[in-house]
Symmetry: C2
Subunit: 429 residues, 2 copies
Amino acid sequence: MPTYADLSTGELEELRGQLEEEYAGFKAKELKLNMARGKPAAAQLDLSMPMLDIIASDADFKSEDGTDCRNYGVVDGLPEAKRFMASMLDDEAENVIIFGNASLNIMYDAVARCWMFGTLGSTPWCKLDTVKWICPVPGYDRHFGVTEAFGIEMINVPMLADGPDMDEVERLVAQDESIKGIWCVPKYSNPGGVTYSDEVVTRLAEMECAAEDFRIFWDNAYCVHHLHEDAAEQDHLMDIGDACIEAGNAHRYFKFASTSKVTFPGAGISAMAASPENIAEIKARMGVQTIGHDKLNQLRHVRFLHDADGLARHMAKHAAIVRPKFELVCQKLEAGLGETGCGTWSNPRGGYFVSFDAPEGTAKRIVGLAKEAGVVMTGAGATYPYKNDPKDSNIRIAPTLPPLEELEAAMDVFVCCVKLASVEKLLGA
Amino acid sequence: MPTYADLSTGELEELRGQLEEEYAGFKAKELKLNMARGKPAAAQLDLSMPMLDIIASDADFKSEDGTDCRNYGVVDGLPEAKRFMASMLDDEAENVIIFGNASLNIMYDAVARCWMFGTLGSTPWCKLDTVKWICPVPGYDRHFGVTEAFGIEMINVPMLADGPDMDEVERLVAQDESIKGIWCVPKYSNPGGVTYSDEVVTRLAEMECAAEDFRIFWDNAYCVHHLHEDAAEQDHLMDIGDACIEAGNAHRYFKFASTSKVTFPGAGISAMAASPENIAEIKARMGVQTIGHDKLNQLRHVRFLHDADGLARHMAKHAAIVRPKFELVCQKLEAGLGETGCGTWSNPRGGYFVSFDAPEGTAKRIVGLAKEAGVVMTGAGATYPYKNDPKDSNIRIAPTLPPLEELEAAMDVFVCCVKLASVEKLLGA
């Protein structure tokens, strides 16, 4: 079968007619479907319900060191919570700080601290004329939102199959002292599903940076979010901490993780890890900001998930729910678009997204068409800084929230919209 | 009986001998008592244990508007949580934002936002050469810690019987554009137990400020923390919001409150209220920092405390535990020091502290003596910016944490230390 690009104008016009009819049929159904955000489905949230019975009125409220977790104190987290989150962060408990309910908040505050106070003796970023940031694209919209809020100039660097284009990253950071950081979702990246190769991790750790206070913001949001239980079908990521220490750049990384997509988004716990010097500085500063985070919630999590093994068992239950949705999305894309040439997409082994690259100049049109037919997608452009996808091509598909049958209906609409927008483009309409 | 100041040197020397003997007796007991921090006692925490059974695995997890509180979203708080916290904040639900577990964190972030971005169009404070702040003294050490961390120059203004010395406050803010804010604990103040009079509230709202972006940080930490259930024995505070609107300075106030000392410190909920324009700006900025705070904990709180009446009933139970401790402290001080002339103290109708003013130049010595005898007090000077009490006189007594019998033992030690340090001072030792 020929791709759409091979069709004659007449064939395309006929096709457009068919697709418009199909699209009108979808519209008539008055669907209300949502593939916009990486939100767990209700069935996933149900997995963690037993956690809510653990800290009941008859529970033991003492942490392992005897702290009454109902009262003030313990600014950096319970010992058992640090140990637990250290397993997610691939680090030692003593290098871990437990925070509140969201790693986004930790990252924002980490940027804010550097902005207001500098870090390890460097000039506060707010005192500089220009601060720039490396943004692998496509990437996570909320990361870009943070740097944009600070007026940090964001520089796009393409994501390749094994991580950011390191030739370009190395070239940029070597020459420009105003480049202070890079956003990384190093495992099952948002949205591409890419896991950084050992070479990329090593190059990030070793590269020459003009800025002494350059920081890798290592948002390991999907560290345990595999689609498969079998280790052979999971991605593996080299630890950035080890790599940075090895390279003699021990202060270069801030690692972040949370249980937002393990237990309950909004009611989870979050943590960061960094070098002892970074951690000491952050503790001193955050000791002014808070007396401590929610220790009862820390207890709840540790007593429910226990350790890395307990976490893996729990995540396998998530995978059983999530995997069929990813499979469905990829099947629908393959069946509907495989032979048309209208786009390419990722087929990740973990994370929360399928990344779809539509024909140039059609992403906004596709998302608009889908919306009009009752299917809400992540806004086109959202995966780029300033919401500006220069090719107007990338669309993030978030399959987790809708039940399978809704997802199926939504993907049928999406495929139709992609085809229609592609035909329109070819016809120059 | 003569005061110590009326005694002869010989009498003082004899007294010192007696007191040193008494003190040695206390030391021999190897006490370990703590009156340092305003922490609720275990018996108070027990009052809120039933709250922990409310959000169990069989609970309804939907908020009143149908939101699944286990998932992402609702950046500014559940409608029922806003309504509940509005009752604490003396405001309308639509002017309220619900935050995480600590109002200190909200205040820090509020300063940080002004620092980094300015507010309602003003210059970011980080771009100014000097930022100054009015600090009524004695005051709350953690407030002073926040402004100190930002390098904000703190100006002491004395607390009088009905609030800060407003003549002085008005004089300062009228002439100096770099004065950007004032810390206020307007009800049962920390540590003095003072509630601002209507006149003080009105003058704060009406005063001419050289800085257009001057903000009153209204930390109503003890708004419902009365020692008595009878309204006639409670202090009443005029609402700063109403006063500012009335005065045509609607954007001047940020109000803060939390349930830290209502339910569980560290596992409570917190909130702020301000003008619609301030709230809109803060929501926009915090929407970059977080996807939302812990909604399950918001549900827990609202379903446990219900409304202002439920809150008042709950706080009456706290009062029944706390009041005898305040009474004991004041009895001990009166019995031990009443006729000696060695100090004066507050006798508040709410809050968490008794403020003790020792003879000038003796506070550090008293706290040191107490510590050596196993009684930890708040550090002398802590109630002043930069931990510098120019008269070395004020000591904050926090009676809530120890059980009554421990408090009694601690107060005996404290009274002995006050007497001994006073005698030493009179003898010029």
